[in-house]
Structure formats: C-alpha cells, structure tokens
Symmetry: D2
Subunit: 333 residues, 4 copies
C-alpha cells in the first residue's frame, strides 16, 4: 500500500510516521503548500518525496491511499478528487464542512467501492476501547448521561469556532459509545474575541432519556479533559490527563421504589461501593487506527469510523451551529 499525505503541519507528521511504520505500507509522497514543510520532512524521511502541489498526489497512479490532513474547509474537494481518482481516503476530523459535502463523499465512495476513514483517533485509545467494552457488556446498565468537559487556553482557530475545533472528539466518542441516533441538539455559547464562539455548551438528546452534554472552551486558564458517564448500575469518570488510572468505575447508583405502605411515597436508595480503575491498554491510538484502515481495505470490510460515522458528527456540528445562532433553539436531527 502506498500512501500520499496532504498537509504536513501539526498533525501530518504523526500520520506520516504511523502509516510509514506499518508493515506492507509506505508513505511515498507528502504535499504541503508551505515549502518549509519539505525541509522538516527530509530531515526525518529523506526517501519520501515532497511537493507543494497536492495534485501530484491526487493524480499519481502510484498512490493507493490519500490522507487528507488539512483544514476542514478543504476536505471535501481533496477527498472528492482522491475518490474520483480511485484512491481510498483517510481524512481528518471533522469529516467535512457541511452535511451535504459529507453525504456526497459517502455516496461517491460507495459507488466506487472505496473506503473512507475519518480520523476519530480517540476511538482507538485504550480508554475509549475500555469504555465501549464496558457499555456493550452492560456493566453500566442503561445509560443516563454522557457529560464531557474539554477546556483549555487556546489554540484559537480563525476559520472555525470552538465547537468545530474541540467537540468532534466528544461527539465521535459519544456516537460510538451510545450507539443510538440523536434526536435533537441545543447549543449555547458566546464570541468574545475574534468573531467565532470561543465558549460553547452543547446538549444532545438521545432516545430512552439518554442526554449528552459537551462543554468546550478556548478561554479556560486550566486544561481539563474529563468525561462523566452515568448509568443505572455503575458510573465512570474518564480523566484523560491522568498518567495512570485514566478510567475510574464507581459501583454507585440510585434506585427508586414506592413505599409498599404508602404508594404515593417514593423511596430512594443509594448504593455506594468500591471504585475500580482498570488497567488501560497503553497503545498509540493512531498506530492502531492506521493498521485498522489498512486491514479494512485489504479485507474489503467497513470501518466503524467510516464516512457515515464522520457524517453523524458533522450533522451534530451543523445543528449546533444553527442552534447557537438562535440562542438554544432545539434542532431536530
């Protein structure tokens, strides 16, 4: 498998390194409009070609996979050309800038029998894999809520607001873990500095009373990456900034019953048991993800983080943007 990587800024080098290190795979060409990226590339990979014209990658018959590691507003056009030229596409999150663009790419890939993988890297971390496993085994019981806090100082983007920058992580994890179609989105937030929202709060309503909430903020003095997931039987806290013990599972819960001698009276009982921090696999998520993409292509199987998955996230992002402009109007999905 020969990979061409478009975009060699902050994240591109990780994509190059991970595809390059997979057996039976090599990165043959990297494109970036900034010629200085070529110098950085040559230092580490003297054998990989560099170009400032991404069309060399898109048109090259030598390339099987195109990785699109560029700003979101360029994804659609680059991915479309790659698919039209018969290449599988690995694309950064968020998938596209609009639902329409995403739908078109998904349809195009289907038609050409090509794979799209959206780089929802977090789904491949040990922590999220463990959470998914616990939820699927019904260790938490029925889910009640998913509540994520993802705040820090900067990094300001000029072309997208804080929702498009930070929330895709949470929205993709939530989609993966909850595994249900959301009903509606409510978003609130405010712009303080450069004309895009830098503080935002998103609520996503799911069926069966599951509610999700994402708090994203570019103006926080401290960095926080904490998610609470509450279920009927157990609850968990995932603190991604902990070196060890990122995941803590609490044998805690509440149950309600009616008083047998007075049916109007509710009895509340709390259960407060042990806490347990399972050992979480320490892998480089991107390594597992790129290996998985190669495997899906070879076996012609559908990645769970395919274009459809990317599109589900973009649907929420688009709805959140509409909601935030109206100060919280619920947007049905």
């Amino acid at each position: 498998m020969r990979v061409g990587v478009i975009g060699y800024g902050y994240w591109g080098p990780n994509i190059v390194r991970n595809f390059h290190s997979q057996d039976g795979c090599e990165v043959t060409m990297v494109a970036d409009r900034n010629p200085k990226c070529g110098d950085r590339l040559r230092k580490v990979y003297p054998s990989v070609q560099f170009t400032t014209d991404e069309n060399e990658i898109l048109a090259s018959p030598q390339i099987d996979i195109v990785a699109v590691v560029t700003p979101v507003w360029t994804h659609y056009e680059l991915a479309k050309k790659a698919l039209e030229n018969g290449k599988h596409v690995f694309v950064e999150k968020p998938f596209t800038y609009s639902v329409t663009q995403g739908e078109e790419l998904v349809a195009l890939a289907d038609k050409r029998n090509l794979k799209i993988m959206v780089d929802h890297t977090f789904l491949f971390t040990g922590a999220v894999r463990k959470i998914k496993e616990l939820v699927d085994k019904r260790e938490l019981g029925d889910l009640y809520y998913y509540d994520s806090l993802r705040v820090n100082l900067g990094l300001f983007q000029h072309d997208v607001n804080v929702i498009w920058d930070l929330a895709p992580h949470d929205l993709s994890i939530m989609d993966h873990v909850i595994g249900a179609k959301p009903e509606a989105v409510v978003a609130t937030g405010e712009k303080h500095l450069n004309g895009v929202e830098d503080v935002a709060f998103i609520t996503v309503y799911f069926p069966k009373r599951i509610i999700a909430h994402v708090n994203v903020n570019w103006l926080s003095p401290v960095k926080v990456r904490t998610t609470l997931i509450g279920g009927e039987k157990k609850m968990l806290v995932w603190n991604d900034l902990e070196a060890d013990e990122k995941l803590r599972i609490y044998d805690k819960g509440v149950s309600m019953s009616t008083n047998p001698s007075n049916l109007h009276q509710l009895l509340v009982s709390y259960r407060s048991g042990d806490m347990w921090a399972p050992q979480v696999e320490q892998i480089e998520a991107l390594k597992a993800e790129t290996a998985y993409f190669l495997k899906c292509i070879q076996e012609n199987s559908k990645p769970f983080n395919d274009g459809e998955a990317g599109l589900r996230v973009v649907r929420i992002l688009e709805a959140a943007d509409r909601s935030i402009r109206t100060r919280g109007e619920a947007i049905s999905l």
Copy 2:
C-alpha cells in the same frame, strides 16, 4: 433580638446555633411538625422552647425575627404571615416557589418596613467575598464567562428538580459577582428516576457578551464543586472542595490584534504568567450572614441578599423550568 426558627431538619440546627451565638440575640422558640426534632433540640439547647405548631412562632409578640427553614413550597405562606405579624424574615433559598410569590413578599416587606434576608450563604464565604473583591477591583478585567460544575450522588428531592435544589447557589453567586441583569435563559436536562430532572444544564445570557453556565447533576459518582471565571485580564478557578487554596487566580489571557501589514489577518497572543492562591478568610459563612442580618435590622439598612436578590434567582429558576420543558427554548427575562 428574639428569633423564632421554623424547621429543624438538616439545616435548621445551624440557623439556631448561629443566631443563638450572636451577641444581643437569642433563639427563643423552634417549631417543627416532627416531634422528634424537639428531643434533638432539648439535648443541645434545653432552654429553647419547642413546638410542633409554627403558628406559635408566627403569632408570638415576643419574637422579632422569623427564620423559615422549611421546604420551598411553604416559604411564601410562612413568610407572608410573619411579615403580616410585623416580623423580619430570614428565609432559606430558593426564596419562593414562583416569581409572583416573591414579588408579593417583597412588596409586603417594603410596605411594612420590614427586612427580608434570603439565605444565600455562599455569598458570605471567604472565597466568594474574595472573588467579588477581585471582580469589583477589575483584577480580572471585563468578564467573559462564569461556568460552574456542581454535581454529586443525591440528595434526591421529591418536590423539586435538581435545578431548584443545586443551582440557587450558583445563580445567587453569579448575580452577586456579575452584577448585571440577565437577558435570557436556556436550560436542558433529563428525568431518569422520579419524574423530576436529575441532570440539567443552564445557560444564562448577560449583556456585554458575558455568558454563564451551570451544570447540576444528582447522578454523578464523584462530588465536584468547581467554578471557572474567565476575564479579559485574568482567570480564576474556585474549587470549593479544596481544604486550602480554594481559589486560584491565573495571570493568563488571550489578546487579538490585526496584523499591521495585512489587516485581514488576526494575530492571537497568549499570556501565561504566574498562578496565585490568595489566603481566603476562614469564617463560618452563616455566622457572618446572621450577624449581618441583625446589623441591617438595627441600622435599618438594606441587605444585599434581600428579597429582591432572592427574587432575581427565582426568576432564573422559573425561566429554566420553562426552557427545560421545551428542550432549550430561550426564555427572555
């Protein structure tokens, strides 16, 4: 000053102890419908009278101040009778069950020249006093946001949802610190167990792009009491569960400028300086608050946490209830 206290459940003993320990003040009678409360009272204060009929307090010519420490749906009626009988009223938060009730009590107290104090205890803690001082001195510069996380397991209330139970703390602090009239409220949330919301998220829009957010949850496996306040010049984190260093002030910020050679390009600069944890006064907040109430009565001055302040909180609570029923419709205030 002679005080009568109605309600001797969880919080009542603290009210009794604090009024009783003030110079020139004594608690002469305590009422609770539960006769067992009388046993508990007598053990600690053998000289204080106990009754199961609160009207004894409301009607007693010996009593100057009535403290109402009962569930919120009883506040209006008890406070009204107390005011009609010429007594000053100290009432638990939230002030009343509706805006209409609150407005009536405020008007009645005005007419009779009596004082109402709503027990927004947190306003008298060392931490909130220090935050208020920092904001008033403009140490933080223009405020950007106020974001509070107040979650824990239980204590479930049957008569009110989690917003009425937990959010009054944050709403009263936010009102005190921001000092501006809110424009609109958006609330989302979900009911999982007993027919009232146990998870809720409230956004309050203020003028000048200040946005406030309160996350309250009765179903969290961990207890969190953390508030972030972001301003133009500085930002702070208040963690009320820290034994020391509850307040951390960060000399961090972001500023935007336009590139002089390219007016379309925004330049972002981050400032990341020292952190500073000021010594916070270690006082019992309720002691300071009860002393302040006695002083306001003696000097015939207006408490800052008067009926009007209580009413401002109830207005947001009522709007939040309306918003949550419509999944986030913005309610103008």
Copy 3:
C-alpha cells in the same frame, strides 16, 4: 459504667462525647486545671460535674473508668493513682513518657486485674481496619515496607518533639498491621526553633526484611497524611486526606527469576494491573474504640490496644530519641 475524664483541652471533649453517647455508660465528672473548661463543658453537658482538682475523680467511688486526656508527662502518675484506686484506665497516646513507667503501669493493671486501653484511635478507622484485614488475608503477600509521611505546619509542642507528637499514630498502626517485634530503630532529625526536633525521620527494622519509615515534620507548608505499604503481591496507598477513596490497592509488583539459559542473569518482570479502591467504613473511630473498651471490661477480655501495645510504641519512641541524639546510631530493641 461511670467515666471520669481528666483533661478537657483539645481532645477531651471528643472523649466525653463518645463515652457519654454509649449505651450503659455516662460521664459523671470532668476535671481540668483550667476553670474556663468548666464553662465550655456546662454549655454542652449541664448535668456533668466539673472540677479543677483531678483527685476528685481519682478518689471518687462512683467512678469505674478514668480517661486520662492530659500531656504525656502526666500520664504515669494519673494512671497509676487510678489503677491503685481500682479504676480501669483509658489513656491518650503516647502511653507514657518512658518504658519504665509503661512497664510499671502494665504490671500494676495485671496485678489488680484492671484494663488499660491506650487511645490509638487510628486503629479503629475504617481505613486501618481494611488495611489490617488485607494484610491478614495475605492479599499483599509478604510485606516489604511501610512508609508514612505525616507532615504539616505546627502544632508545636513545648514538652515533646515532633516524634512524640506525630509518630505514635504511625508506630501504633505499623505495630498493629505488621504484627512483629521490631529489631532496631534509627532516627535522624533537627531542631530549628524551640530546642526540640521539629523535623525527624525514623527507620524501624523488622524481621524478614520488612522495613518501616516515618517522616514527621512540623514545618511543612502543606499537610500530608500518606502511607505506602508494599508487598510481594500487591501494594497500597492510604491517603487519609481524601474524602472518599482513602485506600487504593494496586495489583502491581515485581518478580525476579534467573534466566534459565544463563544462571548469572536475573530477569525482572513487572506486573501492572488494575487499581481498586474499596469502600471504607465511615464510622467515628473514637466511637468504636470507646464501645470496644466497655465491651472488653464487661467481658474481661484483653483489648488489642492495651498497655502492652502502648508500651511497644513507647519503646520505639524512646529508642528514636536515643538514636536521634547520636545522629542515627541504630538502637536495638
């Protein structure tokens, strides 16, 4: 059972409250040389007699148990008189000011068939009970070390150094948990302010290569109460300042083997599994301890924290004092 309590300073009120609340037990008299203590006592317990002359307690035929809650240098004389007058003795830690004093009291109690309990309160906390249970069930395997850090700012004592003030907690827990006779003590430390050591480090050698270490310090800017216990199979961290999850048990360990193909080469293997925080009983330790003392008296059984246990701690304290004066000479026990 009628209890007389000598000493009503910082800790005395807790002793009074706990004995007083036990069924079939009452505190009938309290003595303190400071008459102001009488005012404090009367406010809470108007029915308990107060005296400034402790001999009234020691001589009273109405009293079955004398609780000695005074500075350590007074313990011997007060306890001796109490025993001579046929009373059971509950005495604060450290038991006595010297080994000789302790031995004499133990012999006297034996002769008179009276009970001594030394107030090693920590042994009755949920955390220590759980640790003891885990060690006794061999969950940790063979013990390797016990390492405690107990530091804070103040409270300076004038009559004893930091070892006699803070280390008895750790020494009594270590004695209880390890359950072996120590071989030798090495102590180092320094005096900075008032002529007694305010910083000290104690190493206690036990058989079977178990080593214990206690770091006590009155000059620390932060309060720390953390103990590490390492064993062959598991290891634990006890952080007594955590509100919940005081105890964390790690399924971590190291094992050594020789390389089968090269017997000179050691192979190290690390095991790094889950962490587990058991629910720890939330009881007031002193309540359990006083109940246990009453039970031991009634059933004529030997408390595990008897005079012998107190004496084992005093032996280490005395040895530590000798060692520290010689800058670390090992004192055999």
Copy 4:
C-alpha cells in the same frame, strides 16, 4: 566542535540529538557494543558514523568532546582514556563508581586543562533554576530542610542499588541549592529482591542545622517526584509530575518568641499567607546543559556541574553505602 557519544541505550539518543542540534557542533560518531543500536541511529541520523568499538571514538583525532553515556562502572576508564587523548568529557551521573576514581579524573582534567561536565540534567530545568534563584535571593530566608520523595515501580538495576540509581538527582540538586559542605550521612534501607537495596532513606546533615532527606524506592505502586524545602521565611513544594505549576511557594512560617511577662514561656506564632506558583521556564534541560558545556569550553570557564560537583555527589553516595551496611551509622564527610 565534534562530539563522539559512547552508549546509545535509553539516554544516549537524547545526548546525540541535543549536541547535534547546537550551532557549531555536530555528533560525528556514536559507539555502542550492541550492533542493533546502529540501526536505530541510522534511521534518524544517516550521516553519523556508528561503531561497536568505543576506542574508535576515544582515539579519533577528529573528536573534541566525548560523551560517556554508559553504566556507572565504566565511566572511570572511558573518561580517563578520553582525557588522556585530550578530549573534553561529558559524563552521565553518577560521575564515578568511587571517590578515588572521581578524584583522579578531576586531577587529570585539571592537569590537561580539559573540561569535565557531569550530566546533572535537573539543574538545568526551569524548576530548579527558579528554586536556586529564590534561595539565592533569600526569599525563603535561612533554610531549615530539604526533603525529597522519589519513588516508582522499577526500573531495577542489577549493578547498583536504588540509591545510586535515583538519589543522584536529589543529591546534585541539594548540593546546588544549599551550597554548603555536608557534615555527615546516615542511610537506612532494605534489599528484597535481587541483592541490592530497593528501598532506601538517606539523611544528610549540613551546617547551620540544615537537614536533607531523600526517600528512594523501586517498589512503589505510584510514581512520586516531590520535594519540600522549608525556610525561615517561606516554604516551597516542587512537584515535578505536575504539567503546570510544578513549583508552589507558600508564604507560611513559624516564629518563636519568649513571653515578655514570663521568660520561661515560649510563644509560637504561625504565619499563613498566600500561595504563589511562578511561571517556570519550559525548556528542554538537556538542550540548555549541552549549550552551556560548549560555551564553557569556548570561554575556558568552569561549569558549575563540573567534576568537582560530580565528586561531591559520589562522596555522599559512597558514604550512604557504608552507612546502610551498618544500619545507619553516621558517616562523616
């Protein structure tokens, strides 16, 4: 300046990268007995020569500086040959395996007018630079104690005990910060697994009642890197595992005075003010250290972390080894 690096195991690649990236400096050759290191090297630095025979470096007339990044028992011989061949030496900590070896190297370098730098990397971190600055400016006042906790699970060494593995960090920092000649060393510890101490406690006595203590442990379930430094005026906590706010300075202290009306009575007063976390420079310490070495050579100036500094650490290590064998006998320095 041309650098030859001997040893390309765990730390060697960092040494190569940092010397290589300095202006006017290049790594020309790397030696390691393990030929696989050559493969790793070539991937990153295809132009740097690799050899399995370190004598090629030691003898090469093309090389000005030899970096010795090998186990401690090889330092003496390699450094000696390098100096004899007229090369400056950069050597890993601990400097040598014995005081005698270290003295010989220092004398040899002096005679040949060559520089030795011992890689006490921590001295170049932002945190230690800030601590040194605070102590030198007398912000903490007279020092009382230096107390470091450096524990984790593994990494077991076979040739040295935990003191030689972990304590050199603390001993070099303590030497740098306190800036006084230690008087005596007391060490205790125990061997549990492979015949060398895996748990150890070292006390170092300095003049003027300054006491230092280092707790090192290979068998801890948690990783801790915390140092407390107490002074007359202020105290600090350095937690090296914190991402931000590694350093916290407390305006806390204790002072003693005699009661003017009773000269036998000591009055203790505590001062408890603000806490302050200064912004600490975020530099790669090894980059600053290698640049400093090149500068010292060019300007013919004496590095503060020269052979003498390395030797001061080895003196304490050697004394600690003697003390631990006698269970804590104080070894005068």
